[in-house]
Subunit: 212 residues, 2 copies
């Protein structure tokens, strides 16, 4: 794939307003989407997030009134809810260091400097700031998820327009230590959706990019 082909894929994607409810993403392809989610980069690699994948119709239906009534929530094939850890703790830095040590075949002590840097970074943050930081990371995951969808030919509709507190209740996220940030219905665009034909609206490079 050359750069032009990649740009074509990014132009092909759009925020899907109308999904074809009869088309489902097959499990092998969906597995790749999950692999891409797991591969998402994060600050220090700490992965302060959880992704909830909803295919159950009743649960989708229960989320609809807390999604500004947007029908993509129920018509999509897979509804992804992107949640942030709230707040990350020192114990999780230790968990991450232990995982790193195991994965890379070194002792946790060999990673003491790295651990100290992460703990120093977190020590300047109160709980609210830590949650905000984790939410920021979740937006990276959304960016990569939309890119993955474009790369492999799936449609997606990123949504900030939801009521996170209600999502948290329905998905029991608070008791697990997570909080809803975004939803992203995924599947296949309906042939009836007129939006993919509309020209993309973007400011020019003059406004958005400065060269120094």
């Amino acid at each position: 794939m050359n750069a032009d082909q990649w740009i074509d894929k990014l132009k092909w994607r759009y925020a899907t307003k109308q999904f074809d409810p009869t088309q489902k993403i097959d499990s092998e392809t969906w597995g790749k989407v999950e692999e891409s989610l797991i591969l998402t980069p994060s600050s220090f690699g700490l992965q302060p997030w959880k992704f909830i994948v909803i295919t159950d119709d009743a649960v989708k239906q229960s989320l609809l009134p807390h999604s500004w009534g947007q029908p993509q929530v129920t018509d999509c094939s897979h509804l992804v809810v992107l949640a942030a850890r709230s707040p990350i703790t020192e114990a999780e830095v230790t968990e991450f260091i232990n995982l790193t040590a195991t994965t890379r075949g070194v002792t946790p002590e060999a990673l003491d400097a790295y651990k100290g840097m992460m703990l120093g970074f977190l020590s300047h943050m109160d709980d609210d700031t830590r949650t905000e930081w984790a939410k920021n990371q979740v937006y990276i995951a959304l960016g990569q998820l939309m890119s993955t969808a474009a790369a492999i030919g799936l449609d997606a509709c990123p949504m900030e327009g939801i009521v996170p507190a209600e999502y948290d209740k329905i998905l029991n996220l608070e008791e697990q230590g997570y909080t809803t940030v975004l939803a992203c219905p995924m599947g296949f665009r309906s042939a009836q959706d007129k939006y993919p034909e509309l020209a993309k609206v973007r400011y020019t490079a003059d406004k958005l990019i400065q060269h120094i």
Copy 2:
């Protein structure tokens, strides 16, 4: 490109610790990176951001002490600074509506409902919240930028570890109404960098993904 090939690209990418300072991204390829930045999706499509592309050695050097001394800032080919609009105003919603009308060949009045929805969304936010919202969007841009790099075979090193206020001063961003969020040096990995050989550290799907 099939899904497996895409996953291979995501596995190929890593946060580059050491760039080859002799290798520069050619201008045609760089043009595609900028096109990808401009195509980044954002909430309502409002694009509350600016991307500063720095190739000037002296400016890179002046940013180094405000980047925790990370040499990627000076050794990279192109240093991208991702800045957020702070804060977005009602006038910019009107500017965006006018752009949408021109791009899609409709009257601005035909977009009144859309405009009202955006103004309603912003009316619940004070200036700080608007800036936080714009910063969130910038993390989407980072996610897509890293995906683009992976897609077309460029290396990147996303950085939260910078002093945004000092970047703002050097780049005169505050007076333009923007604030630095992230830096992302881009270019080509050095053959000496040992990090690409290390196994990626990721939690398992059991921890990160829940199916409902």
